[in-house]
Amino acid sequence: MRPSTNVPKKIGSIEFALLSPTESRGLSATKVITADTYDDDGFPIEMGLMDPRLGVIEPGLRCKTCGQKVGDCPGHFGHIDLAMPVIHVGYVKTIRNCLRATCRGCGHLLLTESEKGQFRARYDQYMVEAKDTGPLSKRIVKVASTAQVCPSCGREHGTIDVDKPTTFRENQHKMTPSEVREWLEKIPDEDLPLLDMNPEVARPEWMVLTVLAVPPVTMRPSITLDSGERSEDDLTHKLVDVIRINQRLQENRDAGAPQLIVEDLWELLQYHCTTYFDNQTAGIPPARHRSGRPLKTISQRLKGKEGRFRSNLSGKRVNFSARTVISPDPNLSINEVGIPEASARELTVPVRVHLRNFEWCRAMVERGPRPEDLPGGIYQPGVNYVFRADGRRVKVTEKNREEVAERLELGSTIERQMMDGDVVLFNRQPSLHRMSMMAHKVKVMPGKTFRFNLPCCPPYNADFDGDEMNLHVLQGEEARAEAEILMKVQENILSPRFGGPIIGAIHDHISGCFLLTWKNPKIAVEEASQVFARIGFRGNMPEVHREGPDRMYVYGKDMFSCILPKGINLRFRSNACPPGISDEEAIERDYLVDIVDGELLSGAIDERAIGAFKGVLLEKIARDLGNAEAALFLDRVTKLGTGYITMRGFTTSIDDEDIPDEAQRDIATKIQRAERQIDALVESYNLWQDPAVSPKEKEERGLQALPGRSLEETLELEIMKVTAQTRDGAGETASHFLGMDNPAVIMARCGARGSMLNLSQMAGCVGQQAVRGERIHRGYQQRTLPHFKRGDLGASAKGFVASSYKTGLSPTEYFFHSMGGREGLVDTAVRTSRSGYMQRRLINALEDLKVEADNTVRNTAGTIIQFTYGEDGVDPSRSVRGTPVDLAQVFTEAEKELKRKA
């Protein structure tokens, strides 16, 4: 083993300083004077921007300054002597503060001796306490800049303004950078600490550049295109501009050109230097490439999401990872992930060759990088690389595989292709919670997609409409062990978010189990065994009943009990159970689930029992019997559900929402009644405006405003109430005719997909459309659409959709419906970006917090943030939906135990 090079170190202190012109020249390997880069033969020009002394970028060459080769030479700075000084954009604010707080005449801070003394004392105290002196300096600048005359020399102090990016004005008179520099030079060293500058490393006049450092070529390499053309880096382009203008400025000035021309060129030089540092400075147009694309200069390289910090240092591209489209596979375990063979052959796991695995490794190397499948199409892993003990890397090919296998030594490491059972991390972005990245076991299979079982959709928030996911192969034993213990899918069944299962049955699993258990259907033995066979069940068949001479059947509930672990006792109401009914009625309608010692005695299994987020049965198994048992149960229950539903058959279509004419008529009358009610409300509201009605009558018959509401608000409220009632009423009528024999209703009731509201909107009436929680008001000339009269406050004019989705919407209804729908889309778009930014800030604030062994929450500095985690020390993923203990459950179990003993 090589000695570890990543020993942790502690940063003692950081010092920020300014680069002085002398230092810039000292750093420089060469002065740069020509704007050209390469000559006609393609060789770099001396004292040009690509001078060979600035570092090497072409392999094989050696650096003219340090003599090292490409990877080793870090590159060397050059410099440009500016003909005239130029303000550095990054320091405009600091320069402004310096100018405002000091005297142009003597350079001293504009403070009286006593003020200075006070601030000095405060400053010294801050230094002793190791406190940030920034805010103090801000106060000093504020005090100093209010002075009218200099307390030291009595000179009048003007107002300093900054014009757009880099122009300073004193009393509205423009100051040239030279003048600014002269002023800054006068500021005495002893005043600098009070301006938050350390005179040992920084002088204010260095913020006005006289020398521009030219970054090494390694930082701005030129690329040779396929056509043989050279393409220069954006920074090089910018530097070319600077040198050109600098030269012209120098020539013109030396030739004694008119002041105007020199000033123009000076300003142009300022512009180029400004954009060289930051090409997004407010107030000046960004410098552009020939193609019109804005140049990416120094600031743009570092800043923001795509900048060096967030994109290359905090996050990096990694090896041993893969990304492809995902698709479902109900036959995999929830802990598995299906990997296409092509990916498996590319992704590798390092294996140390030692005595006990030597033959195994040698056989694998011998197979080479493209082994043939075993008979029956069984995948076999090969080896892509061998790392010999001396550190040399050998690529295994079809040609050399036998020879490499022959020469394999103990102590080498082979990079073996992925095989079944390898541990990988599987991830879908956006990674919003820790379940977005879980460990799976590999199963290599044909095809080109990653595959996983459907219960894993909710934690990843994945569907299969083209989603792609990432996969990372773990490279070390430690990592694998850690991932298996902490990140495996089964370890994440119970979510730390709400203390319930986040992984669970969805859609057809739920419908299937519901159909299997509700009202305990009789299932022919042949069909039952077929279902059991396809789920790979190997236990005993449930009790077989006989009916007549040749009909043998089993009960659906008994079939479900077969996969329930022993020792589970639970009582709860199904999702399908209508609210507000008595226990007796619930039992009678088979909605009260009773499980005794792993036997389903009554009730229907649906979302409430096994669903993701809600499943209490699943939760109970995970909590009482462990995650492995829960994973096994989940694998079985999903297969049983899909197995049964495939055998039984299950379809839904638009005629599931057919309702008889009688119901149609009933809904129509309800809507008519509502419209009349609304008209009446509007009339009673309009009464107030009617001059023909006496005040007394207005009081009697007019709409009465609700407490705290205006008349208009009251009207809207009342109308909204009526429209909501109407939609619910229509839904009630519709659902009255849609019973539990209806597949759509079954799905809605058992929680598989859809809701009763969806159905009533399809069958009955879509209802009131709303924008910002109010009826639709937007429009010109007191109406929403030209189809209505001005000032119409009636139902249909303000977005009430009386039609159902099935009958279809009228043009005006369709328009209102689109308005409501658009609002929903905009809201989600706004919400995601806003919550995303909020989450980023939260994570940055909390990332170093950790719960210590003594239950305190501390940050890396050891500062206590919370004395007991969550104030109660409870791990939410081990809590029962937030509470540490489910007392009701404990009591019922204790009661049962007592009864059993008695």
């Binding site: 500062t863 206590i864 007991t868 104030e871 020390g873």
Partner: protein, 86 residues
């Protein structure tokens, strides 16, 4: 620069039902606390002397205040604050 804690108060915030109990630890308690958590004063959460609750409790810079408050998760939760000047 340290100010004397106000002795005459118009209204004692600690008597308000929404303000949790604040009490100053004596020296032994403070030592025991620091030993229990293995921390120095500056690793504790801070409270300003000027904080109305700290003033009402009569705290001086360098003291440690015990805050006992009602918690939705734990019923009663105890926290400590190190009193600082600024």
């Amino acid at each position: 620069m340290s100010e004397e804690p106000e002795t005459v108060q118009v209204f004692n915030v600690l008597n308000h039902e929404l303000v949790p109990v604040h009490e100053v630890l004596d020296e032994d308690e403070a030592k025991a606390l620091m030993a229990r958590y293995g921390v120095k004063e500056d690793q504790l959460p801070k409270i300003q002397v000027a904080d109305p609750a700290a003033r009402a409790a009569g705290a001086r810079p360098g003291d440690i205040i015990r805050v006992v408050r009602m918690s939705p998760t734990a019923g009663k939760a105890v926290a400590y604050r190190f009193v600082v000047e600024y």
